[in-house]
């Protein structure tokens, strides 16, 4: 087991991604939106493939077909919710209807996160080895609802703890082959980080915002590690506040002056920035990483997340 540095990189370019987005748009429009799941798959496939670790690319193996089926199921679930609420309201149980409706919608959130994690990671492959998410659905639901409960009774103060508990649970259950991720961020640190960021941003008329973003990114990266047997790989962010200022300001200028047409370049710059600023070192011998995670092809959760417009939560 030799100590070494590892290399993570994003080598995509804006023009290639622009091309993919334009084709996606064309096909989505001429199919009246039905192409969307395939478009999403194409887009993810490109972004994954251009991300390399130790010179081997990641692969997104999810397909438009799977996500289309998932979309239909997710759509059915949402329709049933609305129909249920509607029936309640028609029967003059208005308040109960609304309450149950929001309750069910809220229940769908952890289900969507769980499903999305399972699907996304099972469909992520690096160097021939599949990722996986091994979290338990029931535990996540309990974690989610207790978090909401405490957040409400503390008038929101508990929120950073809620978010960190959720993130810790999710990330600690991500695997790649026989290696597992670990995250050790906690609510109290996250709370002070945000409190400090908020006040300093207000006092400095927004200038500190970039340093706040730097801290948030570092808090995510620096607390992340990968372990295999008794070997470990640690992550460290080397981005500075000034780096973040450069990234965000240039991105905004690009977007505003091109009426949004520069979106693919902005995404490319941002991904390259995120990858370039992670330093990885440790003693894991990746050649010995074994295939261990199962495949999982149900994209319902993934598509539910799309309905809620989550993007991808971490």
């Amino acid at each position: 087991m030799n100590y070494q540095n590892y290399k993570l990189a994003y080598s995509g370019n804006g023009l290639d991604y622009f091309r993919i987005m334009v084709i996606n748009f064309i096909l989505t429009i001429i199919t009246f939106g039905l192409y969307y799941p395939w478009a999403k798959a194409r887009s993810l496939q490109y972004m994954y493939s251009q991300t390399t670790f130790q010179n081997q690319p990641f692969v997104f193996t999810g397909t438009g077909n799977e996500m289309f089926k998932g979309f239909i199921k997710a759509f059915a679930i949402i329709i049933i919710c609305y129909a249920g609420a509607f029936i309640f309201m028609m029967n003059e149980n208005g308040q109960w209807g609304v309450l149950i409706f929001y309750g069910v919608l809220l229940l769908l959130v952890p289900l969507a996160i769980h499903g999305s994690y399972r699907y996304r990671f099972a469909k992520t492959v690096w160097s021939g080895i599949r990722f996986g998410y091994t979290g338990d659905r029931g535990k996540l639901i309990r974690l989610f609802f207790s978090g909401i409960f405490y957040t409400i009774i503390t008038l929101g103060i508990y929120y950073p703890w809620f978010i960190m508990n959720l993130r810790r649970y999710l990330l600690c259950n991500v695997r790649i082959g026989n290696a597992r991720f670990a995250y050790k961020g906690v609510g109290s640190d996250y709370f002070w980080l945000n409190l400090k960021g908020y006040f300093l941003t207000a006092i400095t008329f927004g200038i500190y915002f970039f340093w706040w973003q730097k801290d948030l990114y570092a808090y995510f990266i620096n607390n992340l590690a990968l372990t295999k047997d008794n070997e470990i790989m640690l992550c460290k962010s080397k981005a500075t506040g000034a780096d973040f200022a450069g990234l965000i300001i240039v991105n905004l200028i690009l977007l505003v002056f091109t009426l949004g047409l520069a979106t693919p370049w902005v995404i490319t710059r941002t991904l390259a920035f995120a990858m370039d600023n992670i330093e990885l070192d440790g003693v894991i011998n990746f050649d010995q990483l074994r295939q261990e995670q199962e495949d999982y092809s149900d994209a319902t959760g993934e598509d539910l997340s799309d309905f809620f417009d989550f993007g991808f939560i971490i």
Binding site: S11, L15, F18, R19, I20, M21, V22, I23, N24, F25, I26, L27, T28, I29, I30, F32, G33, Y36, W38, A39, K40, R42, S43, Q45, S49, Q50, T52, N55, Q56, P57, V59, T61, V125, W126, S127, G128, I129, R130, G177, L255, L259, G260, L261, T263, P264, F286, D287, Q288, L289, R290, Q291, D295
Partner: protein, 361 residues
């Protein structure tokens, strides 16, 4: 040879890559294992894969050829491998797809199709949906809709019952609409404004009534508002803006934001022009209503001049002008229209005059 420049095969059992020599035929790839340090695969038989089962990704200076659906087994070819280009082209050829074909097109052509679809889709949706909507929705349904909007609006307003009665009386001596039952309400409000709701409701603010100086001007104001109703303008713009909203959400679905930002920006500019064209139409139709009622259409111009004059006094109170843009152009148009009737005889109508005098008392 350094591992970075050797052609490696990953078997999906571990993450390790094994050096191979590739023999590419017209339909298949054959991999021959070369001796590796770890000692695996020395004795291994060559493996054959078909191009049609493969997918490729081009990353940096490598071509990655995934040989199974789950992408757990793949070949990493550096650009120095002589098979680099033949394999890339044969895999693409064995798996033809519309997407692949589009991907090989010139980006300029793609951008052209993109813009064409955007513009075409926009005009198709913006004109087709209102057109079909106006065919489907009957005036009776429109009236129900207008009634609901009116009730919601009026809840928080004060009605001037006396003036309402007088202006209604004034309107009875005019033929304003063939299809709709015109119902006028005057509000106790200093604002110089008036507007029409779909289905026949017209709301007039007492501020505007006060600023008018002749029966003809009031007739012109009512004719303009009623023309919005006759031409179903509110319904048209409502249908149009909801169709555009749907279009934007479809465009949003491409998950890029590229199209949606464009559409939204274009829409803001367009809707200004659209409401302007509706105003122009209402002016024109309104003057026609005046002529039909034997009133000199020059009253429309006088109305605009009057409001412009009021605007000079207290700009904040005159929302009629700010929501009815390009007044000078509209005055010109009114002048042109009225010229045609220069030699017509328009005599003062006593009944209208009597109602007007009561309003002005």
């Amino acid at each position: 040879m350094s591992k970075d420049l050797s052609t490696l095969f990953f078997d999906g059992k571990t993450a390790e890559g094994f050096p191979v020599r590739v023999v590419a035929s017209d339909t298949t790839l054959v991999l021959h294992f070369i001796y590796s340090d770890s000692g695996f695969h020395i004795e291994k038989e060559p493996i054959t894969f078909f191009y049609k089962d493969c997918t490729t990704a081009h990353v940096g200076d490598h071509l990655y050829v995934y040989v199974n659906k789950s992408c757990t087994s793949y070949l990493a070819l550096p650009f120095t491998d002589p098979n680099y280009l033949p394999i890339r082209d044969r895999v693409a050829h064995a798996n033809p797809s519309l997407f692949g074909r589009l991907l090989r097109m010139h980006v300029g052509i793609l951008a052209f199709i993109f813009v064409g679809l955007l513009v075409g889709g926009y005009f198709a949706v913006a004109s087709f949906v209102p057109w079909i909507g106006l065919k489907i929705i009957t005036p009776a349904q429109e009236q129900v809709m207008g009634e609901k909007l009116y009730q919601a609006f009026i809840e928080t307003e004060k009605i001037d019952t006396h003036k309402t009665k007088l202006v209604r009386e004034f309107a009875t001596s005019l033929a304003l609409s063939k299809t709709y039952n015109i119902d006028i309400t005057v509000l106790k409000d200093k604002e110089v404004n008036a507007f029409a709701l779909p289905g026949g409701k017209v709301v007039v603010y007492s501020g505007i009534v006060k600023s008018l100086q002749s029966a003809d001007e009031l007739a012109a104001l009512l004719a303009h508002e009623v023309s919005h109703i006759n031409k179903r303008h509110s319904l048209k713009s409502l249908l149009r803006s909801s169709a555009i909203a749907i279009l934007i959400s479809v465009a949003l679905n491409d998950a890029s934001g590229v199209a949606s930002v464009l559409v939204e920006n274009a829409e803001t500019l367009r809707s200004l022009g659209y409401s302007r064209s509706l105003e122009r139409e209402a002016d024109y139709a309104g003057m026609q209503v005046l002529v039909d009622n034997k009133i000199n259409p020059i009253a429309m111009r006088n109305l605009m001049l009057r409001l412009q004059e009021e605007y000079g006094k207290a700009p904040d109170m005159i929302s009629f002008i700010s929501t009815h843009p390009a007044t000078s152009e509209r005055i010109d148009n009114a002048n042109k229209f009225a010229k045609k009737y220069k030699y017509n005889q328009f005599i003062e109508q006593p009944k209208l005059k009597a109602s007007w005098d009561k309003i002005k008392e």
